[in-house]
């Protein structure tokens, strides 16, 4: 017998261990986390730091720059509003509960929106039920490639940390998961990488049926996120029609070179903790940053996070155009990699 959630046992050093949102432990850690922005010390105090204190100070800033902040983009606000609305809508529905489908290209912030929706709903649940420590209001799973019904069910079980035997068939797993979710008052199930369910294949169709079965058995709202799900075939055929009939679609995409893009960059620039950085430098470079990132928020974050980390490590304590110029981003976004 194995615990479904045990295969990603974290290392002894919690700082070095990596957190998985797809396990209850990792998810709860994520939900309870309140990101703190380190204060920038006055110049005299900073220069007077001893070696050990400076290392600690720099480590805190490196950790901050590796995350930066979650920006309330217009899409994020729409997803949160729609997710909250669906929670109210589905709370008293006996059947035909509605869901949310988040679709868009890679690096447009789908996973961030989905996770923040889950975090918001779980926080709201704990505010309403402050003494219900055993509740598991939100589940977060990712669909594995070429998912089968059993693989989907096991992902649910793995999140919950349910023990599974090798002989557990899919019905056993489904029953266990549904029992725990009902007891634990689950209200939202977040399913990421939903494009891995291809209704054009037999396994994909059966995996979709498994998700639908969960949706019928559990009084929960389902929120899916995936890359261009229309093209992935999730909305085709009879099964696809059912999904299309119950889910509202929200799309993510690249930013244009407009005011929103500059506001996004200004938000990220505001959160930098660098001693010699001139405020407004990144906003001035907005057009350049758009060329480098293709307007994708994921690529922009990678570029600015990397540049900020570089500025701490090399002691320059500032980002200029030369900093991101020396940093590679993902192949898909970078204009430098596009054929001319």
């Amino acid at each position: 017998m194995t615990a479904a959630g045990s295969r990603e046992a974290p290392g002894a050093d919690s700082e070095e261990s990596f957190r998985q949102l797809t396990t209850l432990t990792g998810w709860r850690e994520f939900v309870s986390e309140r990101p703190s922005v380190p204060d920038l010390l006055p110049a005299t105090e900073w220069k007077a730091l001893g070696d050990e204190a400076r290392d600690d100070y720099d480590e805190a800033r490196l950790a901050h720059h590796a995350r930066l902040l979650t920006v309330a983009t217009p899409v994020m606000q729409q997803v949160i509003t729609e997710g909250r609305r669906l929670q109210y809508l589905n709370r008293h529905a006996d059947a035909g509960r509605c869901g949310l489908l988040l679709s868009g290209p890679a690096r447009t912030g789908k996973t961030t929106c989905l996770a923040q929706l889950g975090k918001t709903i779980e926080t709201m649940h704990h505010r309403r039920h402050p003494h219900a420590a055993g509740h598991i209001p939100v589940l977060y799973i990712t669909v594995p490639p070429a998912a089968t019904p059993r693989m989907i069910a096991v992902e649910f079980a793995r999140f919950l940390g349910l023990p599974l035997t090798r002989r557990s068939n899919v019905t056993d797993v489904l029953e266990s998961v549904c029992g725990v979710c009902l007891d634990a008052r689950t209200t939202l199930v977040c399913v990421d990488e939903i494009h891995n369910v291809n209704l054009g294949t037999r396994h994909g169709a059966e995996a979709s049926d498994t998700l639908k079965y969960f949706a019928e058995r559990l009084p929960v709202t389902f929120a899916y996120a995936g890359i261009r799900v229309e093209r992935a075939g999730l909305l085709s055929g009879t099964r696809g029609e059912q999904i299309a009939g119950r889910f509202s679609m929200m799309r993510t995409g690249p930013f244009g070179r407009g005011q929103q893009w500059e506001s996004l960059i200004a938000a990220l620039e505001d959160s930098l903790r660098l001693h010699h950085h001139s405020d407004g430098t990144l906003v001035e470079l907005s057009s350049y940053l758009h060329s480098r990132s293709g307007g994708m928020i994921g690529s922009l974050l990678r570029l600015i996070r990397s540049a900020a980390i570089q500025a701490v490590l090399d002691g320059s304590e500032a980002i200029t155009k030369a900093t991101p110029e020396s940093i590679p981003v993902d192949i898909a976004s970078d204009d430098k990699n596009k054929p001319r």
Partner: protein, 66 residues
Amino acid sequence: MNKRDRRVAARTKATVPAVSPQDPPAPVPDEPAPPPPDEDGSRDKPLAKVIPMPAFDPFAEADKRW
């Protein structure tokens, strides 16, 4: 002074500014200062105050009734 000389004198008087050589020269307005060169010459556009997007705070969001 004949008629021709008087005409030349009148033209000269009309074209010479009415200041004596002892007057201090009129102040020349400063030329507008050229825009400061960028450190890396990469300025995309003139600066205007850009309002940053707010950070997303799920705890504050959870406190909202709507």
